[in-house]
C-alpha cells in the first residue's frame, strides 16, 4: 500500500466571519446560531491536529463579505503539475452568496506564483469540494453545485482524466462528503450519494472501497482529512473506525460541530496545496 502522494500541506481560512447567514444546503438553518468562539477553537483544534499529524497549514486572510470562505476546499482545484509554475483553477460558485470567493482565492494563488487557469464562466464547479484525486484521476461530482460539462473543462485545463459521478442526495451535495481517498487502493465511499452509474464508476476506480452505510455517510465521516496514515475525522462511526485501524490508519476524532451546522466537515475546511495530477496515459476503460 502506498500512502497518498498529497495531503501534507493545507490552505485554511480562520472562521473570523463564519456563521450560518443563509441556507444553500439542507444542513443550513439560519435560526441555528453558530457559537463563533467555539467555532474558532474547533478550527484551531483542527489546525493543531493536522500539524501534529505532520501536515503544514497555510492561512489565508478571511473576508467579511463571504462567511463560507472558511470552507477552503471549495476555493478551486490545485495541480502542482511537476515542473513549471503550479496551477490553480478557481471555482465558479453556483450560488451568488459564495461567488465573491472566486477572485479572493484567485488573487491569493496568483500572489503565491500559481498560474490561474479559469473554467468557462457559464460553468459551475466548486473546486476540490467536487473533485478529489484518486491515483491519477479526478473524481468529480455534479448536479447540486457543479455542472457536468465542467469536468471536461477541468480535464482539459489540468491534463488529468476526470470521471464524473452524479450526486443524487441533496444532503450529500459535494463529492467530498461521499468520497475520501485513503491511499492508492482504498477510499471511503458513500454509495447513497451517487446514482447507479456513479456507483459503477467508483467500483471501477477504487480497488478496495470502504462502503459506508447510509447512516454512516450522513455523519459526514467521509469528509475527513488524510495525512499519510492519519485520518482526521469530524465523526467516526465505530465500524468505520475499526476498519480504518485494521488497515493500519491512526484515526483521530476532531470535533468541528459548529461547522457541521453549515454542512461542512474537516475536509471542507482544508484545501490540499500539494496535489500533483501527473498526466495519466492509461487506455480508456
Amino acid at each position: 500500500m502506498t500512502p497518498l502522494g498529497w495531503g501534507r500541506r493545507y490552505l485554511m481560512c480562520p472562521p473570523t466571519h463564519f456563521g450560518v447567514l443563509y441556507e444553500i444546503n439542507p444542513w443550513m438553518h439560519t435560526e441555528v446560531a453558530v457559537d463563533r468562539d467555539r467555532a474558532r477553537s474547533q478550527w484551531e483544534g483542527l489546525v493543531s491536529t493536522l500539524r501534529a499529524a505532520g501536515a503544514e497549514v497555510v492561512v489565508v486572510v478571511p473576508d467579511e463579505s463571504v462567511p463560507d470562505m472558511v470552507f477552503t476546499a471549495n476555493a478551486g482545484v490545485v495541480n502542482l503539475r511537476g515542473e513549471g509554475p503550479p496551477q490553480f483553477v478557481p471555482s465558479h460558485f453556483r450560488f451568488p452568496e459564495r461567488q465573491g470567493e472566486t477572485e479572493i482565492f484567485a488573487a491569493w494563488f496568483a500572489a503565491q506564483g500559481f498560474a490561474v487557469d479559469r473554467l468557462r464562466p457559464e460553468l459551475a464547479h466548486e473546486g476540490a469540494g467536487d473533485a478529489l484525486p484518486f491515483l491519477d484521476t479526478l473524481l468529480s461530482g455534479y448536479r447540486f453545485r457543479s455542472d457536468q460539462p465542467a469536468a471536461t473543462e477541468l480535464s482539459r485545463l489540468t491534463g488529468a482524466p476526470v470521471r464524473s459521478v452524479e450526486l443524487v442526495d441533496p444532503r450529500l451535495y459535494h463529492v467530498d462528503i461521499t468520497f475520501c481517498p485513503l491511499d492508492d487502493r482504498r477510499a471511503m465511499c458513500a454509495p447513497m450519494g451517487w446514482d447507479a452509474y456513479g456507483r459503477r464508476v467508483v467500483e471501477a476506480l477504487v480497488p478496495e472501497p470502504l462502503w459506508l452505510t447510509d447512516e454512516e455517510a450522513l455523519t459526514f465521516c467521509a469528509n475527513s482529512v488524510v495525512v499519510g496514515s492519519t485520518v482526521v475525522m469530524p465523526v467516526t462511526p465505530p465500524r468505520v473506525g475499526r476498519q480504518l485501524e485494521a488497515w493500519g490508519f491512526d484515526v483521530v476524532d476532531c470535533d468541528v460541530g459548529e461547522f457541521l451546522k453549515a454542512g461542512g466537515g474537516c475536509r471542507c475546511l482544508t484545501l490540499s496545496l500539494d496535489v500533483d495530477l501527473a498526466t495519466a496515459t492509461g487506455p480508456v476503460t
Binding site: P149, P161, R163, S164, Y197, V284
Partner: protein, 410 residues
C-alpha cells in the same frame, strides 16, 4: 409528428458512463436515438464525443428530454440556419446549391426545422417566405429549369438534414425478398403482399401509380391493367407513346405490334397496324376524342379517359406518330409527372426500364416502389440510380398482372 433534434455530449463520457446514462435516459423517455458520430478518446485523458440524433414524439417531449440531458452535459447542437442565396437568372441555381436526395428532408430556416414539401432527388431547395408575415416559411424542391430569378435557394450543407426511411417493424415477405433481386421467389406470396400494400395505401388515401412499358400489352397484360384502373386500384398512369399506341392498336385491331393478342401469331401486314391506329387517333385530335367518337371502346387508355384517371404520355426520339396526347417536350413531361406524384404511395414499374428510372427520379424515397420485370438488370439499375426503396419482382409481367388483379378482386 415526430421531432428530431441533434445532441452532442463530450468529455470522459465513456469512463464516467455518461454516454450510457444519456442513452438510457433517451429510451426511458420513450424517445429513440441514432448515433450519428462517436469519437472515442484514445487515452483516458482524451475526451470522447458522441453526436446523437434523438427522435421524440413532439416538440414538448424533446424539450423535456433536452432539460434532462442538459444536466449530464448533453446539449442540442446549436444548428445553424441553412445558408440562402438568391437565384440571379431563370433556370440557373446559385453556385454551391444544395443538391437534394429523394429522402425526407428538413431545412433550418429562422431557427426552425421546416420539412421539405416534395422530396425529389437532384433538385435545389427553394424557400418561400409566404404571403403576409408572420406566415411560416415553406421549403420545396425545385428542378433546375424551374428556378426563377429572385428565388431564395439553399446553398451548402449546413442547416439541412435528411431522414432515412423508417424501417418497417418485423420481417415481411418483402424484407425477406430484399436480400437480393432474384427470380427464385414464391410469386403468389409476393402478389398477395403487394395487394396488401395497395389495399393499405388506398385505405389511407394514398394513390397507386402504374408505369407501363409496351411489353405489358405484348404479354397480354393490358386488359388486367384496364381492370385495375376500372376498379380504382390504379389512379395514375405514366407511359410512353409505345405503350399507349399498342394498347389502342390492341383495342382497335386486336394486335400488338402486328401480333394477334388472341392467337399469338403475326397478322399479314400487321407491322403497320400501330401506325394506322396512331394516324386515326391523330385524325380525331386526341385519345379522348377517339374514345368519344367510339373509335376506341376498351383498353387501358379507354379506362383512363372514361374514369378520369390522369395519365402522362412522355415522348421519346424513337416515337412513331406520335399520338397527339404525347408530351414531346421531355422537360414539360417530367413537370406534368411531378404534378401527379403528390399523394402517390405505391408505384408499380411494369416492364419498363427508362420510364421506371425517370419516374424513380421524381418519387420521394417514401413511396413504396415495385419493379416488375422479366429482366433482373432493370431492378438493379433502378436501385443504382438512387431509388433504393425499389423492391424487385422478377417475373413475366402479363401473368403477374392477372394474378394481382384477381387478388384484388378487380
Amino acid at each position: 409528428m415526430p421531432v428530431v433534434e441533434t445532441f452532442e455530449v463530450e468529455g470522459h463520457i465513456v469512463d464516467s458512463l455518461i454516454l450510457a446514462k444519456v442513452l438510457d435516459l433517451i429510451l426511458e423517455a420513450g424517445a429513440d436515438y441514432r448515433m450519428v458520430a462517436v469519437d472515442i478518446g484514445r487515452t483516458s485523458v482524451d475526451p470522447s464525443r458522441a453526436v446523437l440524433e434523438v427522435t421524440a414524439e413532439d416538440d414538448a417531449a424533446i424539450g423535456r428530454l433536452a432539460e434532462q440531458l442538459r444536466v449530464h452535459g448533453a446539449n442540442p447542437v446549436g444548428s445553424d440556419d441553412a445558408a440562402l442565396a438568391v437565384a440571379e437568372q431563370d433556370g440557373v441555381l446559385p453556385a454551391g446549391f444544395y443538391s437534394t436526395t429523394n429522402l425526407a428532408t428538413e431545412a433550418r430556416i429562422d431557427g426552425r426545422w421546416v420539412a421539405v414539401a416534395n422530396p425529389e432527388m437532384d433538385c435545389g431547395l427553394v424557400v418561400d417566405r409566404g404571403g403576409q408575415p408572420p406566415a411560416e416559411p415553406t421549403v420545396r424542391t425545385v428542378p433546375m429549369h424551374r428556378v426563377r430569378a429572385g428565388d431564395e435557394i439553399v446553398v451548402g450543407n449546413d442547416g439541412v438534414r435528411v431522414r432515412a426511411p423508417e424501417k418497417r417493424r418485423g420481417v415481411s415477405t418483402f424484407e425477406f425478398m430484399d436480400s437480393e433481386v432474384s427470380s427464385e421467389k414464391p410469386k403468389a406470396l409476393l402478389v398477395r403482399n403487394l395487394a396488401d400494400r395497395m389495399r393499405a395505401a388506398r385505405a389511407t388515401g394514398g394513390r397507386t401509380l402504374a408505369v407501363c412499358g409496351p411489353a405489358v400489352v405484348h404479354t397480354g397484360g393490358a386488359p388486367e391493367v384496364a381492370r385495375l384502373i376500372r376498379s380504382g386500384w390504379v389512379q395514375v398512369l405514366f407511359a410512353g407513346n409505345g405503350f399507349a399506341a399498342h394498347d389502342l392498336e390492341c383495342n382497335a385491331l386486336g394486335t400488338s405490334l402486328g401480333v394477334s393478342v388472341a392467337e399469338g401469331s403475326p397478322i399479314d401486314g400487321g407491322h403497320s397496324n400501330h401506325l394506322r391506329v396512331i394516324n386515326e387517333v391523330r385524325r380525331h385530335g386526341s385519345i379522348a376524342a377517339a374514345v368519344e367518337a367510339g373509335y376506341i371502346d376498351g383498353g387501358v387508355m379507354f379506362e383512363c379517359v372514361t374514369g378520369a384517371v390522369p395519365f402522362v404520355l412522355a415522348g421519346s426520339i424513337r416515337d412513331d406518330g406520335p399520338l397527339p396526347d404525347v408530351v414531346t417536350d421531355v422537360v414539360a413531361a417530367a413537370d406534368r409527372m411531378r404534378e401527379l406524384v403528390g399523394d402517390v404511395a405505391v408505384a408499380l414499374m411494369l416492364a419498363t426500364t427508362l420510364h421506371a428510372i425517370a419516374t424513380g427520379n421524381i418519387l420521394p424515397a417514401g413511396v413504396e416502389t415495385y419493379c416488375v420485370d422479366i429482366n433482373q438488370a432493370v431492378v438493379t439499375k433502378l436501385a443504382d440510380r438512387g431509388s433504393h426503396q425499389a423492391h424487385g419482382i422478377v417475373t413475366d409481367v402479363g401473368p403477374f398482372l392477372r394474378q394481382l388483379a384477381d387478388e384484388l378482386g378487380a
